[in-house]
């Protein structure tokens, strides 16, 4: 779960990391008031869970409350890079002497924590890593050993001597967030040295491990404020693994790998998937029927493809779930079903017996994908 910048800064402040004074605004008026409170000048920052805000016009310096209101209005109305925006962060302007970059991330290829720091600030770190990797200090931290003095010295050795102790303090507190809040990423770009010698986190990017949210209910509850697609909201509510995509074949399958593979095979058959939906292992009649209802509620869907290879999932329950959903909602698009694995024969018999006019049975995954793609394309033409 990616936190908004202002939420990340709340986590930073709770840990004792200095951040600029800031006020969250959800209307242009609030942005103007906030700017007034901060002395008449401010920086208005769009709150979205993606990077590239500076270059994309999402971070604007303003010299009056009126200008703050204008910029907030624009961002709240137009969104940012196709993402809906429901809030901006209005922050005080600080006298910056130098800009740096630092982060700690869970490095999946080594299975430990990777700390990074560079004295070059305000940079695209991926770009710098490509062009001048030697400009970035890196240190791998064994999560059993945790962050040691020598790790910190290695990272801060690139900074001016007089700033190192203050930066080191921030690094130790950032690392603590990984352990205490189950963060898989804490990134500060830029970390700044002010003219008076203090060091401040000007930005905050924090990702929390979804699997660990049971240990942090207060962080989990932040998710409620994230703007998401209405179909996605329904799927989340039902506990389904769902991702909205931009094609027109609705996909339901069991297991992440099989569903991803189904999206690919549909693309090869000449259509695009409208979504990723994994019903998981051992799905019940109810899970299946809810899934189908969710997919049928998406107006972009021109055909549905249900691709099940039963292991712990039983195909007879899947078939019952499909029929149950079709009692509750009317299907206006064709539904191609491929059932294999545990109780597949029974599942196919249940569907055959129901003889529902919208259901099309297919025997293999390839055949099913081709059928669904053709039906979606025909629906598009009609």
């Amino acid at each position: 779960m990616d936190l908004y910048e202002h939420q990340g800064k709340d986590v930073f402040r709770a840990q004792g990391i200095p951040t600029p004074r800031g006020i969250v605004a959800t209307t242009p008026e609030e942005a103007a008031d906030a700017t007034r409170e901060l002395g008449g000048r401010s920086v208005v920052k769009v709150q979205v869970q993606i990077g590239g805000r500076g270059k994309g016009g999402g971070v604007v310096l303003v010299d009056s409350p009126e200008r703050a209101a204008e910029e907030a209005e624009r961002l709240l109305r137009d969104g940012f890079k196709d993402m809906a925006v429901n809030r901006v962060l209005v922050e005080e302007l600080l006298p910056i002497a130098k800009e740096w970059y630092t982060s700690f991330v869970l490095d999946r290829s080594t299975g430990d924590h990777l700390g990074m720091m560079t004295a070059e600030g305000g940079v695209d770190i991926e770009e710098l890593a490509r062009t001048r990797p030697e400009a970035i200090r890196r240190v791998h931290v064994d999560p059993m050993l945790e962050l040691r003095m020598y790790h910190v010295r290695q990272l801060t050795a690139t900074l001016p001597v007089e700033a190192r102790e203050r930066a080191a303090d921030i690094l130790r507190k950032l690392y603590a967030i990984l352990g205490e809040q189950d963060a898989t990423l804490v990134e500060v770009n830029p970390l700044v040295l002010l003219e008076d010698g203090t060091v401040v986190a000007l930005d905050a990017k924090v990702t929390i491990d979804d699997n660990a949210l049971f240990r942090h209910p207060e962080l989990g509850s932040l998710r409620g404020g994230f703007p998401i697609d209405p179909v996605e909201a329904r799927a989340k509510e039902a506990g389904l693994q769902y991702v909205k995509l931009d094609g027109d074949v609705g996909i339901i399958g069991n297991g992440a790998g099989l569903v991803m593979s189904t999206l690919d095979v549909v693309a090869q058959a000449g259509a695009r998937a409208a979504n990723f939906l994994d019903i998981g292992g051992g799905a019940s009649v109810d899970t299946m029927s809810t899934s189908l209802e969710v997919i049928l509620s998406d107006p972009a869907v021109k055909a549905v493809l249900i691709n099940i290879f039963g292991g712990i999932t039983r195909c007879d329950l899947v078939a019952q779930g499909i029929l149950e959903a079709l009692v509750r909602v009317e299907a206006t698009v064709p539904i191609v079903v491929r059932l294999d694995g545990t109780n597949a024969r029974l599942g196919r018999e249940i569907l055959r017996g129901a003889a529902h006019p919208r259901i099309v049975s297919a025997t293999t995954m390839l055949e099913a994908a081709q059928e669904a793609a053709d039906l979606a394309n025909a629906g598009e033409a009609a």
Partner: protein
């Protein structure tokens, strides 16, 4: 011979009295796996259909000579279960549990380095050597004994591809579901090495997906160390960047971890990469001659 599990496997199941744990334990036993013990704290002295239950893994090992563990413990206790099995000296631990916090797994990963224990998973369907032993949840009836070794990050793609292989008459020596989590036990590299050394494996199928660099590292390894033919498959060409596709580890980060880059790396190492599960089976048939 087979890799990781076989006739010598003596299995202890951690979390044997849970619904999933007991169901799959009995299924594995019916398949022919030697299931010798179960562990559920507080339930020592009881049994599950004749399989004795102990309070701790150490007790189970002492009383039954178990050498392999299968874990069905809930996610918040599962990392601890892996550590317990490691300290009890088990050679192989297969963790089926999905949803373990990645920090817990990073600590387990660090601890395992100094041990003699091999971990498969978590968030995986387990390991099956058709006709010998099944440690996990892969449906035994879709497999057939044979000479193809298979390793996959996804569970259901194991099923799909094994099914396609079996239908073409291509049996398997061992099928390994290594799991879909970002920090995990053995990966492609360790599996490829095991198959390379296995006298009963002629050809290797590796099934990857978006996210991380396991497939890229496998490609490097194949070029230098694997002489048996390898057929590959990658799922997730249609996955948009920044979206987690079901598995915790299945995410394209920036420009890293795409399906296209992985397929390209494998092809550069001489791996034939099928574009559909069906094509993978056909490539295996062609390579098997």
């Amino acid at each position: 011979m087979s890799v990781f599990v076989g006739h010598d496997t003596r299995l202890v199941v951690q979390g044997i009295t849970g619904r999933e744990g007991s169901f799959h334990t009995l299924r594995d036993r019916a398949y022919g796996t030697q299931v010798v013990a179960g562990v559920t704290p507080g339930k020592a002295g009881g049994d599950v259909e004749g399989i004795p239950v102990f309070d701790t893994v150490v007790d189970a090992v002492r009383e039954t000579g178990a050498n392999t563990s299968m874990i069905f413990v809930p996610p918040r206790f599962a990392a601890e279960a892996i550590l317990e099995a490691t300290d009890a000296g088990l050679g192989l631990v297969v963790c089926i549990t999905e949803g373990i916090p990645v920090l817990d797994m990073a600590r387990v990963h660090s601890y395992l380095k100094g041990s003699g224990t091999t971990l498969v998973g978590p968030n995986c369907p387990g390991v099956i050597s058709p006709g010998r032993a099944n440690v996990g949840i892969i449906p035994g009836e879709i497999c057939a004994p044979g000479r193809v070794g298979l390793v996959s990050r996804s569970g259901t793609l194991v099923y799909q591809i094994v099914h396609e292989l079996t239908q073409l008459g291509l049996g398997q020596s061992t099928c390994i579901g290594m799991g879909g989590d970002p920090v995990h036990g053995i990966g492609f590299v360790e599996s490829l090495d095991a198959f390379q050394d296995d006298l009963d494996t002629d050809l290797i199928v590796m099934v990857g997906e978006i996210g991380g660099d396991d497939e890229e590292r496998a490609a490097d390894h194949i070029a230098g160390h694997v002489t048996k033919p390898v057929v590959g498959y990658i799922a997730g060409f249609e996955a948009p960047p920044g979206k987690r596709m079901g598995h915790a580890g299945a995410i394209v980060t920036g420009s890293k971890g795409t399906a296209a880059a992985k397929a390209e790396a494998l092809e550069a190492a001489g791996v034939r990469v099928g574009r559909t599960p069906t094509q993978v089976a056909e490539l295996v048939r062609a390579a098997a001659g």
